[in-house]
Amino acid sequence: MHDVTYLRPTDLKDAVQLYRTTPGCRPLAGGTDLIVMLHARTLRPPPRAVLDVWSLLELKGVRRTQGMLEIGAAESYTGIIRSRDAQEHVPALVAAARTIGAAQIQNRGTLGGNLANASPAGDTLPVLLAYDAVVVTDRRSIPIDQFFTGYRKTALQADELIVAVRMPLGRRVVFRKVGTRAAQAISKVVTAVSRSPARVAIGSVAEVPLRARRAEAALERGDMEGAIAAVADDIRPIDDVRSTAAYRRTVTQNVLRELLSVKPAL
């Protein structure tokens, strides 16, 4: 475990100020990624302080604002799963939240953490891409399709805090995670699809969670078979300890076929 200074801001303003002025500082939300990394000492450079944003009221809750659904960056998956508004307006995100880890992780894990961690296997990320979510930070709004800039890299500046995520109302998105077992599984392929507008977003098949643009173009033309064929060219899967590139490719196509045949509930 790295030795770090623990900082507990009183409100968002305080947090932003501390983050800006403390060298080597890392936000800490649920800690389900960060504590693991601190323990394994894999963070480079090693952090010197953590800023606990878990209890900041401004980062909590699920609410409707300006014709959008807004979810606080430090709201837990359990909070999202239990929210009536989330169930009604973003059921695919609720479905994704239910697949994360198991109960303990859902009680602590947050959307802000999933976003900032930017793992290609982050399960909410394709869903957020399919919803055209907007990442609201302490200083600006970042469209989700500009958020992931490389392997575990984001558009966030060094001292930028995620405050909330906004999604449009009324979009129909379907979701499927393929992770080999029913809980505590890291995705081999995770897909979210919207028919209109055409969005095909996939995780664990490239260095970032990505939008399958060729497949989307075909889908926009109403060409489902074309989309299923094209998606194979949109992805860049690899062989790793969890699966193989060949499997990921076939499953991406199969899952897309399956998701295009289901009628989303909304």
Partner: protein, 716 residues
């Protein structure tokens, strides 16, 4: 009139250590605080094969805060005491490295931070050699077994159909909940007390004596509450204990050596992977003419218990069937991978997997409406039949009972109504020898003692351990009934080698049946003596092989096991054709256990074993890279979660064995045997493709489905 005595055997009485476990009072090794104890750590090889050229302790680091142990610090023999003398306690300077994660150096320090820091200042340089990773390219053979019955060569021509298949089985991790660990404490007179998570106190005792040059009295081994073993704590704890004791010896203070999960997964023994080839000849009507079987198991870099695993694999290789002509040729080879070792089933799950699928293949190729269940009925061993080793089965043969019971208990098969999901059902019939193989029990001559104490209570002294399977509870049940006293009057002494005799290891489905019988006999003797004598009294009982058991080690002929337990398993699976994922939805298993001494724990053993087998069959995969395991964390070594577990229904069948305690036979390992072939048969039933291989990961299933689709397309 006296009320009828309430007997304990056959009732699901509360577990002896149950309350402590569920309330958190139970002290596992890492829970035990020892004043002034230092923490230890193992430095391991990073190469699969080569020689140690140099070990350098970086002079920039202050080594006065750390204790360092190398092979030079071993007072006794640098050998892990087991079957062969091939495995060093620590690889010596200039010595050969045979696998990744081989222990080279031990460190201890007062705190973990210093320990971690010290570890980064050890530099080991190697001379690299060419490693052998594949069974096919291995040249060194640990052991061979040949079993011959009848004469395969002379009848080959008389078969109407000969079916040939090759099967593959993968590595599996035991994944006990509690990782390996031991605490060593130096005591007066040069003695060392080692408290640890272990299955076999006297294995550890022998290993300590040998490596640390101790007398019987100087080596004291105490089992702490143990969070599971499954064979993984049969031989490996000897290494952990000796390492801890070497550190404690040099540090002159207690040392704790507790593995974290990553080290445990990366370094400790796994189930032997292997390749098994079958050639089976039958008549048109399905009559079995011959079985010709070849088994190759990968033992890894050192021998460990491999010859015994191979032996059990070979003896079970013909399956639960009666065939007049059998040839089984088995060998275990060495590769430069971490040593494989004991794991629930001990070779039998591997060979029975192949034997059971072979029944399916023969039935399929025979056609003509002969089902694999019909074939099993035709072939199966019945009372009076002779096994591959020439053993005549004289009692407690449950083959037909379990087959009938499982078929009766299975629900009506409902096909899937989801278009992308195909459902199938598969069945297997297996047997498993209880107790040590051949003359093992005779050589071992396990001993227990029973005391009648002055306060009217009774105490069982045994080295048989409680590792979650219920030893403590059933021994007390057996003693209470044999004594005719209430269960509360019987206690069990701690598993401490300075107190209890060597009852043999807690392995091989032998504890309830072999050691339990000794408990029953000792209790009966005490009861008799109490009619004439007054407590305190003590009776020691050792196993004596009945005259009717004959075994010839040289020819592998005779009574391989005192008796067999039997199981029939029916598995229902859903195969998702989108992803190749296999979900085992339902599992019915009928088990002939002789007598269910404690029905709830018997069912617990069976359900747990079945789930462990389902994991092996479907998702528990270890990929190798440069001779090491890639899946060396719980994030990558997947086992079924509660959500993945099938609904398991167990039917217990009591078909008593005359020499078992109250008729009981061993069932610890049996449930590991049946589910894998049943699952693979069910996948075939669902999809029409054969995998002949475990684990049937989604990757393999999907590739097989696509292959079948392409073949169909090519044909039409």
């Amino acid at each position: 009139m006296c009320p009828a005595p309430v007997t304990a055997v056959g009732r699901s009485v509360p577990r002896r250590e149950g309350a402590d476990k569920v309330t958190g009072r139970a002290r596992y090794t890492d829970d035990i605080t020892v004043q002034g104890a230092w923490s230890g750590r193992t430095i391991r090889s990073t190469i699969a094969r080569g020689a140690i050229r140099s070990i350098t302790l970086d002079p920039a680091f202050d080594w006065s805060r750390v204790v360092v142990v190398t092979a030079d610090d071993i007072p006794g023999d640098n050998v892990v005491q087991l079957i062969r003398e091939d495995q060093p306690v620590l690889a010596p300077r200039g010595g050969e490295i045979k696998h990744k994660e081989e222990p080279i150096l031990l460190l201890a320090a007062s705190d973990r931070a210093t320990l971690e820091e010290a570890a980064t200042h050890v530099r080991i340089e190697y001379e690299l050699a060419n490693p052998v990773f594949e069974i096919g390219s291995a040249t060194e053979v640990f052991s061979t077994v040949e079993i011959t019955k009848g004469d395969v060569a002379s009848v080959e021509r008389t078969a109407d159909l000969v079916v040939e298949r090759e099967f593959r089985v993968g590595l599996q991790e035991q994944l006990y909940i509690e990782p390996q660990g031991a605490i060593a404490l130096p005591e007066a007179d040069g003695a060392f007390r080692v408290v640890g998570s272990l299955q076999c106190p006297y294995y550890v005792h022998r290993a300590l004596k040998r490596a640390l040059k101790l007398t019987d009295q100087q080596a004291i081994v105490v089992q702490a509450e143990t969070g599971g073993g499954f064979g993984g704590k049969e031989e490996y704890p000897s290494i952990v204990a000796v390492h801890a004791a070497l550190l404690a010896r040099k540090a002159g203070r207690p040392v704790r050596l507790i593995y974290d999960r990553h080290e445990d997964l990366a370094a400790t023994t796994k189930r032997h992977p292997g390749v098994i080839r079958h050639r089976t000849g039958v008549k048109k009507d399905g009559t079995l003419v011959f079985q010709d079987i070849e088994i190759v198991l990968d033992g890894g870099a050192y021998c460990t218990l491999t010859p015994v695993v191979l032996s059990r694999a070979a003896i079970h290789a013909a399956g639960a069937y009666s065939c007049p002509n059998v040839r089984i040729r088995a060998r275990a080879v060495a590769t430069n991978t971490p040593p494989n070792g004991a794991f629930r089933g001990f070779g039998a799950p591997q060979s029975l997997f192949a034997a059971e699928l072979m029944v399916e293949h023969v039935a399929e190729q025979l056609g003509g409406g002969v089902s694999s269940v019909d074939l099993r009925r035709k072939w199966m061993l019945r009372l009076g039949d002779t096994t591959a080793t020439g053993q005549v089965l004289t009692e407690s043969v449950g083959s037909e009972l379990v087959l009938d019971a499982a078929l009766k208990a299975a629900t009506t098969f409902q096909p899937s109504n989801i278009p992308t999901v195909r459902r199938g059902r598969g069945l297997s019939l297996v047997f498993h020898g209880s107790g040590f193989t051949g003359s093992g029990e005779k050589k071992l001559s396990g001993t227990i003692a029973m005391e009648a104490l002055a306060d009217g209570t009774f105490r069982i002294l045994t080295a048989s351990t409680e590792i979650g399977q219920g030893t403590k509870t059933i021994f007390c049940q057996l003693a209470a009934d044999a004594l005719g006293v209430p269960l509360e009057r019987v206690t069990i002494a701690p598993q401490d080698t300075s107190l209890v005799p060597d009852s043999g290891p807690t392995v091989a489905s032998r504890t309830a049946m072999i050691v339990g019988r000794l408990v029953q006999e000792a209790a009966a003797e005490i009861k008799q003596r109490l009619q004439r004598e007054r407590p305190p009294l003590r009776v020691d009982k050792s196993y004596i092989q009945p005259d009717s058991i004959h075994w010839d080690e040289a020819t592998y002929r005779g009574d391989a096991y005192p008796v067999y337990a039997w199981a029939c398993t029916i598995a229902d699976v859903d195969v998702d054709t989108t992803t190749g994922e296999v979900r085992v939805t339902d599992l019915v298993t009928a088990v002939d256990c002789g007598k269910a001494l404690h029905p709830v724990m018997a069912e617990g053993q069976i359900e747990g074993g079945c789930l462990q087998a389902v994991g092996w069959a479907t998702i528990e995969e270890i990929k190798m890279k440069d001779g090491g395991y890639q899946n060396d964390r719980l994030a990558t070594y997947l086992i079924p979660t509660a959500l993945d577990a099938p609904r398991i229904r167990t039917v217990l069948i009591e078909n008593p064995y005359s020499r078992g305690p109250f008729g009981a036979k061993g069932i610890g390992e049996l449930p590991m045997d049946g589910p894998a072939p049943a699952v693979i048969a069910a996948i075939h039933d669902a999809t029409g493709v054969w995998l002949d291989e475990v684990p049937a990961t989604p990757e393999k299933v999907l590739a097989a489905l696509n292959g079948a689709q392409r073949r169909e397309a090519a044909q039409s």
